[in-house]
């Protein structure tokens, strides 16, 4: 299991290419940063910038391309490129998603849903084992945002993640916005979801904003990371901290990328909530 001391139990930001130059020029006191490794695998200028960032900040690699839930074999070339980047950067954490995106050698550029069955569990567990062996470290696996449920799913999503963590020793990345979005879209109970995740396995939390779209006259929430974290997600975050303790937290923002200052402000808000939670837990432990 990844110890909570590896990354500070503070709030960092997802670093996107539009902010890299400003961050390198101003070096703001953000506790840690997370990047998508797929944007840096070609080396070149982007890779050099990331190495410069790594000199001053703890960095986590948050992959979107391993396709852990693909029915076929993992893309060995992609895994090799990830390993090269991990060796070069020595990130504090490496994480991926409970989803698939590759089939028949084609990449669909989305974190697509898997049915939660025993077959899928065996496939994902085998892939997580392969990744952890290749990288010689445990990874975290993130809960997806869902827009549908498969009729033949036989396992609940948090139970699936708990069993995956038990079988493989991987940690979990609890995306609170994804829980909120999925709860709305497919009708599960967000509080019960938090309660079903194994607290000891959760080593990171994600926060983000979402869009509200119309689908045939009914609201559907889209996990677009394109706006501030909304109040109900902050509320769920407080509950998550009560359950999991003060774990490193990340604010993601991808679409409609704001000024860096705005994103740092969101992280400071999360940092304040984290500090309150840590303080409360200190009191509880002392009592």
């Amino acid at each position: 299991m990844i110890g909570p001391g590896v990354l500070p139990a503070r709030a960092g930001i997802g670093l996107r290419s539009g902010h890299v130059s400003e961050l390198l020029a101003s070096r703001p006191p953000v506790p840690w940063l997370e990047v998508h490794p797929e944007n840096y695998m070609g080396g070149g200028r982007a890779g050099a910038s990331l190495e410069a960032v790594r000199l001053d900040y703890p960095v986590s690699l948050h992959g979107v391309g391993l396709s852990l839930g693909t029915a076929g074999a993992l893309d060995r070339r992609h895994l090799g490129r990830l390993r090269t980047l991990v060796d070069r950067l020595d990130p504090c954490l490496v994480s991926e998603h409970l989803s698939w995106s590759t089939v028949g050698g084609a990449y669909l550029n989305h974190l697509l849903p898997v049915p939660y069955t025993e077959e899928t569990l065996a496939v994902v567990a085998e892939h997580v084992d392969q990744v952890q062996e290749a990288l010689a470290r445990p990874i975290l696996v993130e809960n997806p945002s869902s827009y549908l449920r498969f009729r033949h799913s036989s396992i609940g999503e948090p139970q699936f993640l708990a069993e995956l963590a038990r079988r493989t020793g991987c940690g979990l990345l609890c995306d609170v916005n994804n829980i909120y979005v999925s709860a709305w879209n497919v009708g599960h109970d967000a509080d019960a979801y938090l309660g079903a995740l194994p607290a000891a396995a959760v080593a990171e939390i994600h926060l983000a904003g979402h869009a509200v779209n119309d689908a045939d006259g009914r609201a559907i929430l889209i996990d677009d990371h394109g706006s501030p974290v909304p109040p109900p997600v902050w509320a769920l975050y407080r509950k998550a901290l009560e359950r999991f303790g003060a774990v490193p937290t990340l604010v993601e923002w991808d679409a409609n990328l704001p000024e860096l200052e705005v994103l740092l402000g969101e992280a400071q808000t999360a940092d304040g909530i984290l500090a309150e939670a840590a303080h409360r837990q200190g009191h509880v432990r002392a009592a």
Binding site: G44, A106, L108, H110, L112
Partner: protein, 256 residues
């Protein structure tokens, strides 16, 4: 019950084409039509890949307007998906696709503008070239010189076009200049990464043929053969000055 692979095959078909009854039947119907739920995924895949192509081909997008570009991109994406998750590498086949896309066949210069944009896109991500080791080159025995092969910088590309594509690209890069004379004549361009960004240079016929032949992996002798009237000493000196080749490989026994 459907096996995971069957689900994923149905999903891929449904995202890029018609939603099959089998796929719709897999999705829980809780009052919101499964087709509306599947449309969320389809919309994301198509819009994000279109945005990826727009980022790599901004001038092509301006030349045809964004609505036509989205139409062409949609057709391309349904034909050729990314081979992997590094999206900076997606779009290499888009220029050839445009050359066969009936709806823009009258824009005969468009595929070459797209080829130039792809070369610029790749060069912009590559590191600037380092000087080739001239001292090491000087130590190569004269008998071996003709069998040397040069290894090009990542991001080096050569493009010959009957259209003034560099002028078209510059005119539309910032939308501030008028379209140049389309019949200004052919160009032979070298696109390479530089410390300042990307360097686009217009080359003479001989120099273009020589450098292009070397960049394609030909030996020095083969490259010279394709350019009968070349000042070889000057040509080698200039490729050293321009930092376009990272290194060279010595001939092996098999080459001998």
């Amino acid at each position: 019950m459907f096996a995971l692979r069957d689900v994923q095959d149905l999903f891929r078909e449904g995202l890029l084409g018609e939603l099959s009854p089998a796929l719709i039947d897999l999705v829980e119907d809780d009052g919101l039509d499964p087709r509306a739920r599947l449309a969320v995924y389809r919309h994301h895949v198509l819009t994000t890949l279109t945005a990826t192509l727009e980022a790599a081909f901004p001038v092509v997008c301006r030349l045809v307007d964004s609505r036509f570009f989205a139409y062409a991109a949609d057709a391309f994406i349904r034909q050729i998906l990314p081979a992997g998750p590094c999206l900076d590498e997606y779009g290499a086949a888009f220029p050839d696709f445009l050359a066969t896309f009936e709806a823009c066949r009258q824009l005969t210069y468009l595929p070459d503008v797209a080829r130039l944009e792809w070369a610029i896109h790749r060069a912009s991500q590559a590191p600037a070239g380092e000087p080739l080791d001239a001292a090491q080159l000087a130590r190569v025995a004269p008998a071996d010189m003709t069998r040397l092969r040069f290894v090009p910088n990542a991001g080096l590309a050569y493009l010959a076009s009957p259209w003034p594509v560099d002028a078209i690209w510059r005119a539309h890069r910032d939308e501030s200049q008028a379209l140049p004379d389309l019949y200004a004549g052919s160009v032979r361009l070298e696109i390479s990464p530089s410390a300042e960004g990307v360097r686009i240079r217009s080359l003479h016929r001989e120099s273009f043929a020589f450098r292009d032949a070397l960049a394609r992996g030909n030996t020095l002798a083969e490259a010279v053969e394709s350019v009968p009237y070349l000042d070889l000493t000057g040509a080698i000196r200039s490729i050293l000055d321009d930092n376009i080749f990272d290194t060279f490989t010595m001939p092996t026994e098999e080459d001998a």
